[in-house]
């Protein structure tokens, strides 16, 4: 047993060889864990949706209108499609192409904004409110929470884009691009589940 405090003067020393960096940054891992916990919120909301639906006599409850399918589908493709420029942007900055990254992030931002705009229109055109019944409550809550995530993503994207335009991002230094990309893909993947459960599935089997 030793009582000494490191480094022990005159104590042994070793040479430690560092390994090349293989994994992701801590910021990336931080975002990955945020996503894990956020996923649970959405899993909880979708479970709530199916719990309420399973105990309901009709769905949507109280003879409410079915979710709008045509425009929502089109804009869903736009939102999920916005991951494609983000992927291109990630690849571009790995090779040091800052110009391509600017275009890619700008395009993805516009696609996300278009989707958000469509969500606002959808909410305006609905003939029911969140107070009407449990269907209205879960519809507004789930889709509204996802829209808030899109909004947050647009805000992060704006900051990242400013950093890119100011020249703070290059081939070796692009952690915030990676972190934003991860978050944006998450927002898109969540929408696949929310869309299939809330928008698409009530139309099936009719």
């Amino acid at each position: 047993m030793t009582d000494a405090v490191v480094p022990v003067p005159g104590g042994p020393t070793v040479r430690v060889e560092p390994v090349p960096r293989r994994g992701y940054s801590t910021a990336w891992w931080g975002m990955a864990t945020v996503i894990a916990t956020e996923s649970m919120i959405f899993i909880g909301l979708l479970s709530t949706y199916f719990f309420l639906r399973a105990t309901a006599s009709e769905w949507p409850l109280g003879g409410l209108e079915l979710p709008e399918l045509k425009y929502t589908s089109i804009f869903s493709v736009v939102l999920i499609g916005s991951s494609i420029p983000v992927i291109f942007g990630e690849r571009a900055i790995e090779k040091g192409h800052v110009g391509a990254l600017k275009v890619a992030l700008g395009l993805a931002w516009l696609m996300g904004a278009a989707f958000l705009y469509r969500t606002v229109i959808d909410f305006r055109e609905l003939h029911f409110g969140w107070r009407d019944n449990a269907y209205g409550s879960i519809y507004y809550t789930t889709i509204g929470l996802h829209a808030l995530h899109v909004l947050g993503g647009l805000a992060i994207s704006a900051v990242v884009q400013i950093k890119v335009w100011l020249g703070r991002v290059d081939r070796e230094h692009h952690i915030s691009v990676d972190v934003f990309a991860l978050y944006w893909h998450f927002v898109d993947v969540v929408w696949i589940f929310v869309f299939s459960s809330l928008i698409l599935s009530p139309h099936l089997g009719r």
């Binding site: 070793v14 560092p18 449990a134």
Partner: protein, 638 residues
């Protein structure tokens, strides 16, 4: 990891030079609000949560005065409801969870051999959110609008129709707030554990307490969202008129229970797992041998974490669940005794093969074993559905969960106080007073809580503010009340011990217990940079096996100098590869900043706005929160 011996000898760094390079902490009030040092934050977590512990304990004593005699009018029914709600809410959300996070905050970086957490500013943020959420819930108590729907806040009792006041809104919003704090803290522990270990510390060599905090964190990030959602949906119902829990409009009251207990049962293990981690650190040191079956214990922790997500319905056996579901959840609840048993036998075997020193921390550990055994056995009993139908909502259940949450979590925490406070304050606690405190607590606890089992069998229901005489409950209730005060005296003695140890300091030295893990390889209390040079680990028990600990020499690369005193002077610490613990990159430890505090206050403002439905206040809070997010994205180093 490639390690070669180097003929050079470790230098003796000059402490003044180290401190100058690291930078002095701002003194006084500015330093108080801006610090990002994990040790100061950890200490605050521990001290703040103990304040809540004392408050909730006093509330419990007042309830016991009310229950000491039949048909007592010491407390009104309303006050009693408020008190038991505050007692449960405070103990679970504001004491047990944060005190464990506090020990984790202080000791995980020290045990891993690094200079701070992975996200020091987030760490400060999670503390401020915890403090403010506590203040938020306490504001309700002080304003006379204390939550009164139970710490579990079951609907429909807690919906607007049946709890019209602002009381339960404090609970719902406060729970969402404290959930943010727990989640942020958990994220920090996960990334710190995987990315910031001393060279040579593979996962296989991590101290069990670090393992337990890792498991705690993974459980927290998957379980806490459920209670956040339960409380958030409850608040949407109460504040904005949604109908999630209103059956008239297609909602479901049972839905609330599912969401709540999907968090609620893992939460029991979220608390229990770090407590067992503490025990697994204390027992080997005082049995003077390595923990038996290290791999078994780690596996048990991970298995418990998985299983704990499959037992929540055993809190709902009496709600009319289909029989198949009853069988499943009953089965998993019985199965979870196996990994718990593995840990139990590992502790017994460690003591059996060792030479036990009966110090105060060890007494608390052994006391824990006995209490946990009883709490575990009653746990098996209530896991059996037919038994549960008889015992549910009776004092038997109160006895069971106090044996588990008070006995099997608070006793390890007290053991941990006696074991680790010398490291935190630099002063030893009195052994004589400590042992006295233990025996009074142990006797007080058992005589206070064991008779509750019997009360349950005699039919006394939970949550009642009084009872008629002549049911055979009178004498038992009086005994319980008297001994709950005995327990409190035991707790008080530890407080006296703590104060005394600071008035009449008894310097502890770096390693007073002859322990094996890295937190004892630095002075007590540790300097702000933890380790002037980061030790190089070659086994599971560095301080037992390496005489003395080796340190690294700086290489030609950019990373390895941070392992040496040069890293301290540059305010750097290495990032390591997740599995092996090989250094691969550098972290610059951020300086003090007010931003975490400001962001936390912003979020509190938002919640106050929601509480009174003031749109402007809410919008202002949202704005501050958004600015915080933008600021963080801006500051993320490339």
């Amino acid at each position: 990891m490639a390690v070669t011996d180097d003929p050079a000898l470790a230098p003796a760094p000059d402490p003044h030079e180290l401190q100058e390079g690291w930078g002095e902490e701002a003194p006084g009030i500015p330093g108080f609000f801006s610090t990002v040092d994990h040790k100061r934050i950890g200490k605050r977590y521990i001290y703040t949560s103990f304040l809540f512990f004392f408050f909730a304990g006093i509330v419990a004593l007042i309830m016991r005065i009310q229950l000491a005699r039949p048909e007592n009018h010491f407390l009104s029914p309303t006050t009693y409801n408020e008190f038991f709600t505050m007692h449960g809410t405070t103990m679970i959300f504001l004491f047990n969870t944060p005190v464990l996070a506090g020990f984790g905050n202080y000791f995980v970086p020290l045990m891993l051999g690094t200079r701070d957490m992975a996200f020091p500013r987030m760490n400060a943020f999670s503390y401020w959110i915890f403090l403010l959420s506590g203040a938020f819930i306490f504001a309700a108590f002080l304003l006379g609008h204390s939550p009164d729907g139970g710490w579990f806040a079951y609907t429909p009792l807690t919906t607007k129709a049946f709890s019209p006041g602002i009381n339960m809104d404090f609970w719902g919003l406060g729970v969402v707030l404290v959930g943010i704090s727990t989640t942020v803290g958990a994220i920090n522990f996960i990334v710190t554990t995987f990315k910031m270990r001393a060279p040579g510390m593979t996962l296989n060599r991590m101290p069990i307490f670090v393992w337990s905090m890792l498991v705690f964190s993974f459980m927290a990030i998957f379980a806490v969202p459920a209670v956040t959602l339960a409380a958030a949906l409850l608040e949407l119902d109460r504040l904005f008129g949604t109908t999630f829990f209103n059956p008239t409009f297609g909602g479901s009251t049972l839905l609330y229970q599912h969401l709540f207990w999907f968090w609620g049962h893992p939460e029991v293990y979220i608390l229990f797992v770090p407590a067992t981690g503490m025990i697994s650190m204390i027992i080997p040191v005082f049995a003077r041998r390595a923990l038996s079956g290290y791999h078994w214990v780690v596996t048990a922790l991970v298995v418990v974490a998985f299983m704990s997500f499959g037992v929540w319905v055993h809190h709902m056996f009496a709600t009319g669940i289909p029989p198949l579901a009853l069988s499943f959840f009953s089965g998993v609840s019985l199965l979870i005794t196996i990994p718990s048993g593995v840990q139990f036998f590992s502790w017994i075997s460690t003591m059996w093969h060792g030479v036990v020193r009966f110090t105060t921390p060890m007494l608390f550990a052994i006391g824990f074993l006995l209490i946990f055994l009883l709490g575990g056995i009653t746990g098996v009993m209530v896991a059996v559905t037919p038994f549960d139908w008889q015992a549910t909502d009776s004092y038997f259940v109160v006895a069971h969960f106090h044996y588990v949450l008070n006995g099997a979590v608070v006793f390890p925490i007290f053991g941990a106080l006696y074991y680790w406070l010398p490291k935190i304050t630099g002063n030893m606690l009195s052994e004589r007073l400590g042992k006295l405190s233990f025996w009074i607590m142990f006797i007080g606890f058992n005589v206070a809580f064991f008779p509750m089992h019997i009360l349950g069998f005699l039919g006394m229901p939970r949550r009642i503010y009084t009872y008629p005489s002549g049911l055979g409950w009178d004498a038992i209730n009086m005994i319980i009340s008297v001994f709950s005060f005995v327990f409190a005296i035991g707790v008080l003695l530890t407080l006296v011990n703590f104060v005394w140890s600071n008035l009449r300091p008894h310097p502890a030295g770096p390693n007073p217990w002859g322990a094996d893990s890295l937190e004892w390889a630095t002075s007590s209390p540790p300097p702000e940079y933890n380790f002037a040079a980061i030790p190089v680990v070659s086994g599971r028990h560095p301080l037992w096996d390496q005489h003395p600990l080796a340190t690294a020499v700086p290489g030609d690369d950019v990373v390895t100098p941070s392992l040496t005193p040069r890293g301290t002077m540059e305010r750097e610490t290495p990032f390591t590869e997740g599995l092996s613990g090989d250094p691969e990159a550098l972290m610059h430890i951020p300086h003090e900043t007010y931003v975490p505090f400001v962001a936390a206050v912003g979020i509190l403002v938002l919640f106050c706005g929601l509480l009174v439905k003031a749109v402007l206040v809410g919008a202002l809070g949202l704005l501050v929160g958004l600015v915080g997010i933008v600021w963080w994205a801006w500051k993320t180093g490339e």
